[in-house]
């Protein structure tokens, strides 16, 4: 059984969860994991006080978190490899500055999912984040490479100053997406009004997107068949940057919308 941490009860303060890194915990037994400390508000609290620890960090490098982790910030932040699966919601900064591995969240994520930390110009540099539900503001901010995908909606400002990489929100990307986008791809399963710095280019069935959607299915996300068959409107932007980024808006199954 994969190393599994089940939340005992909501923590008294916000917890910085970045140390719960599947790769970092590889080889630790349940006792050692339980003894690790996490910052909870102003204090350091042992993992064992917050979670029931079971299983072991097997060689597969998979870590499973179970519970409503809304007050846990930075879940999977800085991950470089391995798989972190969360059954429940997570707080802000989940997967921030990730460089590799897979972060699967079966629930909702808070703000700045997969984003750059304050002041840092580059956020995610690799890896895949898949969230079954919604995410807060500025998902994928500063992203340089990698994939952030939501079954639900992204909050406003997704892909802020994205350098490259992909943010997909099947439930719809929020407003103000892609300010300062250089080479990134932002994908919305629902119509939104692009920023004025974007301009409509064409309707198409982008083969790369199709592959990414199939990849999402493999990672456990429900992807409606019409997204695979359908037509997407490509908007190019941010035109005040390189005009090499794109915003792909779902345009219906036969582009008639």
């Amino acid at each position: 059984m994969s190393l599994t941490l089940t939340l005992r009860k909501p923590p008294p303060a916000r917890v910085l969860a970045a140390p719960l890194d599947p790769d970092g915990l590889r080889g630790l037994d349940a006792g050692a994991v339980g003894a690790l400390e996490l910052r909870c508000g102003g204090e350091a609290v042992p993992v064992g006080d917050l979670f029931e620890v079971s299983g072991s960090a097997a060689e597969d490098g998979t870590l499973v978190l179970i519970g409503d982790l809304r007050r846990f910030d930075g879940v999977g932040a800085g991950m470089a490899s391995g798989t972190l699966v969360v059954h429940g919601n997570v707080g802000s900064w989940a997967g921030a500055e990730m460089s590799g591995g897979v972060l699967q969240i079966f629930g909702d994520a808070g703000a700045r999912l997969g984003a750059a930390y304050p002041g840092a110009r580059a956020g995610m540099t690799g890896g895949e984040i898949v969230v079954s539900g919604d995410a807060g503001e500025e998902a994928g901010a500063g992203m340089r490479r990698g994939l952030v995908a939501l079954g639900g909606r992204a909050g406003a400002g997704a892909g802020l100053r994205i350098l490259a990489g992909t943010v997909i929100a099947l439930g719809g990307i929020g407003e103000e997406a892609g300010l300062g986008n250089k080479r990134g791809s932002l994908v919305s399963g629902r119509p939104v009004e692009p920023l004025p710095a974007y301009a409509f280019a064409a309707r198409l069935q982008p083969p790369a997107l199709r592959m990414q959607l199939l990849r999402l299915r493999a990672l456990g996300l429900t992807v409606d068949e019409r997204f695979l068959r359908g037509v997407w409107a490509r908007w190019s932007g941010d035109r005040t940057e390189l005009t090499r980024g794109e915003l792909l808006l779902f345009d219906g199954e036969n582009g008639s919308r």
């Binding site: 080479r183 791809s185 064409a202 790369a208 199709r210 592959m211 990414q212 199939l214």
Partner: protein
């Protein structure tokens, strides 16, 4: 010379002589299977023999939508050349000229995880004139090259494996129609995973020998020993009595096993479809690393 009989067919106790080659597999997908097939045919056209075409290629198989990287119907193509560099050059030329140009296609590596690879998208991307973009999907990099239709998606590189080229069967019968029917049955049976039959329809009627009797500069010339019309004219004819036409099936495969098993399938299919005489071509066993004695193919597949 003692052989064995398989149905009506006399199987000569000889062997096919084959060579180590390098190969790649690409999976071409398209909006419809028909367009994928168009691209694959075009890519494998004029890729019959290494001597004349610098590579040998054939359609390996159809790949169903659920099994292709982008979920669309696909065709797997195998391309063989003598070394990795040759594979790289030919793949690049052919994908650039025949796949990228073909409506709705995308092109993927059919040998993921191979130890060695050659650049494909990494080189083809320059056709994008700076407008190309890349995406890393599930750890693999792909290039998106803007084209008049939309985007051509092509993998960064393709794996290169060690394969076997030059396996063959030569099938003869009492008349041309029967011989062709037997050869076609054999080719049909031989096609499948790991196998490319580089000649048109998989079948060669102008089998060749190395060099020429009449000239020192010709690299290859007709296999006069197998030409029925010369049966009397040449001293070393190998065309037996009652055989009016012969066809060769050349087989390139991803492994010795794949070639052998394809030959076994072909031999038995030919025997069941009117072949009277089945033999194989070799160069006396001195040139090729791999020998496939027909005697080992007696057991049915």
């Amino acid at each position: 010379m003692t052989g064995y009989r398989l149905g009506d067919a006399e199987v000569v106790d000889t062997f096919a002589e084959a060579f180590p080659m390098r190969y790649s597999r690409v999976v071409i997908t398209a909006a419809t299977e028909a367009w994928a097939l168009e691209a694959a045919r075009s890519m494998t056209g004029f890729a019959t023999s290494i001597i004349g075409c610098k590579c040998e290629a054939g359609i390996e198989m159809e790949v169903r939508g659920e099994d292709t990287p982008d979920g669309r119907p696909g065709i797997a193509v195998l391309l063989f050349a003598m070394d990795r560099e040759g594979v790289g050059k030919r793949i690049l030329e052919r994908v650039g000229q025949t796949v990228m140009t073909c409506p709705t296609t995308a092109c993927f590596d059919g040998l993921p995880g191979a130890e060695r690879s050659v650049p494909l998208g990494r080189s083809l991307r320059y056709f994008g004139d700076g407008f190309q973009a890349s995406k890393v999907i599930a750890g693999e990099r792909f290039w998106r090259i803007p084209v008049m239709e939309g985007e051509f998606l092509v993998c960064e590189s393709v794996g290169v494996g060690r394969g076997v080229g030059g396996g063959n069967l030569v099938i003869g019968a009492r008349d041309e129609a029967t011989a062709l029917a037997a050869a076609m049955a054999a080719a049909d049976a031989m096609r499948g995973e790991g196998i490319a039959l580089p000649f048109p329809g998989g079948i060669v009627r102008s089998g060749s020998k190395v060099g020429a009797l009449s000239s020192k500069s010709l690299p290859a010339s007709t296999n006069h020993q197998m030409a029925p019309t010369l049966r009397v004219q040449v001293k070393d004819s190998l065309v037996p009595d009652g055989v009016a036409a012969l066809f060769e099936i050349v087989i390139d495969g991803v492994s010795e096993d794949a070639v052998r098993e394809a030959m076994r399938r072909g031999l038995h299919a030919a025997a069941g479809a009117g072949a009277k005489h089945v033999t194989a071509a070799n160069f006396g066993g001195k040139l090729g690393e791999f020998h496939f004695p027909l005697s080992e193919l007696r057991d049915p597949p």
